[in-house]
Symmetry: C2
Subunit: 364 residues, 2 copies
């Protein structure tokens, strides 16, 4: 029997939620985790989508992540709070931290929430979108396990620590920058290696620290920070805020989700929420953001460029398209999810997209 | 008569301060501006050093900047404040904003201060160093007039909007990242053009938007954002926080200090100050920062690399060296400062470094 490759986003989200519930995850948390994964797939960020279902379940099964715990507020005063994620799912902990940051930002104008004892929290955009719905600006960052060398180094020391900023707009799409601090995602190098393609110089170094265009050699080596020393420095300050300041792991003390089966990850996050209306009337702000975005998009274009894009625009279009046309998954991911479904008595195929393309004739 | 090229930092700072005072700048403000300039020269960031004295004075003389005004707190609640710089010197306004952010961070744990109606504020590191002395973490950013195209664009639309983060350490040097969001400073391209050198591909585009290695063509075109779309997006969010949110100029509405003689610049800044002790005991934090820095510096090095550096380290060493050996200035800058001195009845040569190198024999 061949497995379908295109899935209805809502049904796929239900499937994932039900899998987590049957694996013992409390329903409210299973909802958060599955929503975070599906939103990444909708936005075209497949590396953070349902492909992570298997590894998350395995971390729970092996006792490396505990969905039963309660995140604990270690301290809170004024505009700051420190949260211990108690080793729950990263997206559960992140959502808890976001709520805390948003509530305090509304009360004090701005709030800074540090998080320790967490796990891989999915995409920063997941939180940014929720803050935008509340008319808040959000900066969110997280550290991650070692994948990049410092400038001049040979082996991984810092993570591709992501930085995300979300800003509400008026009629335009919100501004959502959600970037890793590496030149490219490691996943792109994996794809190149699978195809036998070379990679551009500057993406990675081999295990001796030499620049390489060989994808296999790059995978044994390290991905490089974006912009050389600038990306290295940005990744480092994200580690300082998310890890050194919060009491979470940092550098070598953030454990790899795929490789370390002895200890929790101890990932750290950092949330800064800002109430726009303390600075400028909300409607005026949105008008100014709209004007700014429109002016940029109307700039003269270089030869061969069809459109000037602003951060988040591609992902917004992907989301609209995938809600209509379904989420296409690689066979490998479908097979893994199907097996997980069988294990928990759930039918993945029931989440398949029906009648993906309806011809105009059929409307008659 | 030939002019000396090496200057004692303290005497040079006094010379600049006295110039500003004789040009009508109140003494306390003249002290801030001259300190900001000399600190940049000490750190090796000559582009933001005393080379700016002339243009600052000209902005004042032409009525484009007003050192007599008082910055005004437009609003303040809890952890936020909005400051109108009243078109005073950028470093005066920035210092005012920093004090506000630090005071509120101590009270509320963290504080966010937006600034409008300001001017070129010098280096972010100037503020970061002051926050570090108070055991605070500081993020500071500013927008700037148009020098970079959006990704896919042809002509300048955004500024090389700088991002600076300062973090106190224990025994190690503090972490100070102070970066423009361009690949390189425009100043480096000016130097290449003067020497007739080519520039590396990726630094800039010509006025048609084509990649160029011709420094002259690059100067007629635009510098490029660091990391392509990532640098573009970071520059854009700095503009949103510093300009769109605060009511300052943004994009095309930030006026060029050298070219626009009809209007004030209306630069915007954004300060985020964080009280470390709300998250972790200060001494423990400093130990962790020290450990982090030491571990990075002890990483294995790539072939040909003598030392792994952390952000701010080079500038710290430059400062120590220049305090001992003096600040060397190009003849063009010396000539301009000398002329300014003559205009205001001050002798630049009195600030020259005496006996720069003392041979060991002279100790006998």
């Amino acid at each position: 029997m061949s497995l379908p490759l295109t899935y209805d986003w809502e049904k796929l989200q239900s499937f994932c939620r039900d899998v987590f519930i049957r694996a013992g995850v409390p329903a409210d948390r299973a909802s958060i985790v599955s929503e975070s994964l599906i939103q990444a797939d909708l936005r075209g960020v497949e590396s953070h989508g349902v492909v992570r279902t298997g590894i998350y379940l395995k971390r729970v099964e092996k006792g490396m992540m505990d969905p039963q715990t309660e995140p604990v507020i270690v301290s809170e005063h004024g505009s700051t709070a420190l949260l211990d994620g108690s080793n729950n799912f990263g997206s559960v902990v992140g959502s808890y931290a976001l709520d805390l940051a948003m509530a305090r930002a509304k009360q004090y104008g701005a709030a800074v929430v540090g998080v320790k004892g967490s796990n891989h929290f999915g995409t920063g955009a997941y939180y940014a979108q929720k803050a935008i719905e509340q008319n808040l600006i959000l900066l969110v960052m997280s550290n991650a396990s070692q994948t990049m060398p410092p400038t001049g180094g040979v082996r991984p020391f810092i993570g591709t620590n992501p930085l995300c900023i979300g800003v509400p707009a008026g009629e335009e799409n919100p501004f959502i920058l959600d970037m890793a601090t590496s030149v490219v995602a490691r996943g792109k190098i994996i794809v190149a290696a699978q195809k036998g393609d070379a990679i551009p110089l500057g993406w990675a170094i081999d295990k001796e620290g030499n620049p390489t265009t060989d994808a296999e050699a790059a995978l044994e080596g390290s991905v490089l920070p974006v912009g050389g020393p600038k990306g290295y420095a940005i990744s480092m300050f994200i580690d300082i805020l998310s890890g050194v300041l919060t009491g979470a792991g940092y550098g070598q003390y953030v454990n790899n989700m795929y490789e370390n089966w002895n200890e929790p990850q101890n990932v750290g996050h950092f949330f800064i929420a800002i109430d726009i209306s303390r600075f400028i009337p909300l409607e005026l702000f949105k008008q100014r953001v709209d004007q700014y975005i429109r002016q940029i998009k109307n700039e003269p274009k270089a030869a061969g460029v069809k459109e000037i894009l602003v951060p988040g625009e591609i992902e917004q279009r992907q989301t609209e398209a995938r809600k209509q046309e379904g989420i296409q998954l690689p066979l490998k991911v479908v097979t893994e999810l199907n097996d997980i479904g069988i294990k928990y008595g759930l039918q993945l195929s029931e989440a398949a997209m029906q009648n993906v393309s309806v011809s105009k004739g059929s409307e008659v």
